[in-house]
């Protein structure tokens, strides 16, 4: 089992390295940030000085080498716009994004799994048809349009919920969170629901497919013949096997949520990492963009790795096979 994990760890490291090269090379081609610090009509000496100061006069591979060396030491450069460490900017905004992502994940698990399991165990029922219809809609509706509709409905027409921003936060272990007070929660509801819809639909479909497969198996029929009650049947016999693919999907989707939050944050003006990168991209704030890509990629790779380990732990057949 451990050699499989080691191989995955190595592959993950390779992915991170490759992405660092791509991110660095790609962002390097986007405009010349010298003109952010000096006006375009400045004397040549001034431009040269600024170029040297930002290290932009070195050959590309040397710039990359410097970047990598600094990165390993935790320094991903200073933002050109804010003149603060890019990494600090990102970590400042990470709790906001993570809050949204975690809330959306919990929503999708809480709604998707029960409906999916019910649909899987009662194929052809009204609930199943509605749930499957809803799930097709859920994966097809683009996130930004859904956000628009929700704003229209709940903010403009009904006036129940605010249409943007984060609102008052409370401090939890030194981190600012929104969900602890109703005031803060009000601001979080719409963006979290927008983000979660796609996930709810996906979890519903996977759970339904998985449940249908598990419920049709011999051992379930035997348990029912034995006289096992419906609740115990679901809890002890069906659910554990249904959960294996569902948990892995939830884990993978968590990473996807973090990446996709940038659209939701833009619509709702939620001050998270996603909004930061969109703004930085449009303003050519290179270090922040590169730092964001590296952080998100690292998160992605970490989550994938954890999901792989979880998968191995949950499914004893895999453990036996690799032993």
């Amino acid at each position: 089992m451990f050699d499989m994990l080691a191989r995955r760890a190595l592959q993950s490291a390779l992915v991170v390295l490759v992405m660092s090269v791509l991110a660095f090379a790609g962002i390097h081609l986007v405009g010349d940030p010298v003109y952010l610090l000096v006006p375009p009509d400045a004397p040549q000496a001034e431009i040269a000085r600024a170029t040297r100061q930002m290290g932009l006069d070195l050959p590309l591979h040397q710039q990359y080498g410097r970047f990598l060396w600094n990165a390993v030491h935790g320094d991903l450069g200073n933002s050109f716009i804010f003149n603060r460490p890019a990494l600090a900017l990102i970590f400042e905004r990470m709790p906001a994004t993570l809050e949204l992502a975690v809330f959306a994940l919990l929503l999708s698990a809480a709604i998707g799994i029960p409906f999916g399991m019910w649909s899987g165990m009662h194929p052809g029922s009204a609930v199943q048809k509605i749930a499957m219809g809803f799930s097709i809609l859920g994966v097809s509706v683009p996130v930004f349009w859904l956000g628009l509709i929700l704003i229209m409905l709940f903010s403009v027409s009904l006036g129940w919920l605010p249409s943007g921003g984060r609102g008052p936060t409370t401090s939890l272990f030194g981190i600012e969170v929104s969900f602890l007070g109703w005031d803060g929660l009000r601001f979080m509801l719409l963006p979290a629901c927008t983000l979660a819809l796609h996930n709810i639909a996906l979890v519903m479909r996977i759970t339904e497919a998985s449940t249908r497969e598990v419920a049709g198996q011999e051992y379930v029929r035997f348990a029912r013949a034995k006289g096992v009650g419906p609740l115990r049947l679901v809890w002890r016999h069906i659910a554990p096997n249904v959960m294996i693919p569902v948990v892995t999907v939830l884990g993978l989707e968590f990473a996807h949520l973090i990446a996709f939050s940038l659209v939701t944050e833009t619509i709702f003006a939620w001050p998270g990492m996603g909004k930061l990168i969109i703004d930085s991209l449009l303003q050519l704030d290179r270090p922040v963009v590169v730092a964001y890509l590296m952080v998100v990629l690292l998160l992605y790779v970490l989550i994938n790795f954890v999901v792989d380990v979880l998968y191995l732990l949950l499914d004893p057949r895999l453990r036996a096979r690799s032993a």
């Binding site: 390779l14 991110a23 683009p142 992605y300």
Partner: protein
């Protein structure tokens, strides 16, 4: 036979018919649309922000879905936007399919190190979040239809490559391929005439799903302001343009293009779903 089984599924047939209608409307947009929204001679700024079902100032035209901030008829703008969304979505999926077929077949046929190397690249590509890759690519490449197409193709090809390679690997092990190799047929002929035709079943489902996600991804990129330029407005750009009007209760500028987009993506997804059920005998009860 597949066609007959598909025709028995009502949801699939309805979705396919609807998609055909949309494609027809989009293709014939210059003939069908009541107004060419990008011909400045036909657009009056004084007729802007009219609600749905209102008439133009001279009373001759009916704005079925209202007008936007510049006086363009929403129904016409949607038809033209549909054109672009469809073209880019379907076009990029097909090109990515081609690229994926080439890579997947090569990996499956030659096996060994070539397979390992190609699949390693595919794995790396697939472990990156699509929206971030698309974002960075478009930020680097800049705006434009061809650049958007390129970015979308680069984001999608890996899924196709993996699918094709999986299916082709299964076929590769079968006897008839061994016989063909023994006969001395050239590699490309074996791959294209013998392996590929037997792989297309799962490929069709993947293609429809990828088309749906390509259309959505392009709309998202346009909404964020990167990707297509203002001169080639897709549905995503229309939605983004109308965003500011929502708070002023002028919902039609954003909502109707969104509805069109949703209907488009839903019909493609339903077709893909029904195809998946038809192709897998276990699910087709």
């Amino acid at each position: 036979m597949l066609a007959r089984r598909f025709l028995r599924r009502h949801a699939g047939v309805a979705a396919a018919a609807f998609l055909l209608l949309l494609v027809l409307l989009a293709a014939l947009a210059p003939l069908v649309a009541p107004q060419d929204p990008y011909d400045l001679g036909q657009v009056w700024i004084m007729e802007n922000e009219r609600p749905p079902l209102s008439r133009s100032d001279d009373g001759r035209r009916l704005f079925l879905l209202g007008t936007d901030g510049a006086g363009r008829d929403m129904a016409s703008a949607i038809l033209y936007g549909l054109r672009i969304s469809l073209a880019i979505g379907i076009g990029s999926a097909l090109v990515a399919l081609l690229l994926g077929i080439v890579v997947g077949l090569a990996a499956a046929y030659y096996g060994g190190r070539i397979d390992a190397a190609l699949m390693r690249i595919v794995d790396v590509q697939l472990s990156l979040p699509t929206i971030l890759v698309a974002l960075v690519l478009l930020a680097v490449l800049g705006q434009g239809v061809d650049k958007t197409l390129m970015a979308l193709v680069l984001v999608q090809w890996a899924t196709f490559a993996r699918n094709v390679r999986g299916a082709a690997m299964v076929e590769r092990g079968k006897d008839y391929i061994e016989a063909a190799v023994g006969q001395g047929l050239p590699a490309w002929r074996i791959m294209l005439r013998h392996v590929l035709p037997n792989c297309w079943a799962p490929l069709i489902v993947t293609t429809t799903n990828q088309m749906a996600s390509a259309i959505t991804l392009e709309a998202t990129m346009s909404f964020l302001g990167i990707g297509l330029p203002q001169t080639e407005p897709s549905l995503g750009l229309l939605i983004s343009n109308g965003f500011d009007y929502v708070l002023a209760h002028q919902y039609w500028i954003s909502v109707f293009p969104g509805v069109a987009l949703v209907l488009l993506v839903v019909s493609v997804s339903v077709i893909g779903d029904q195809l998946r059920i038809v192709l897998n005998p276990k699910l087709d009860a």
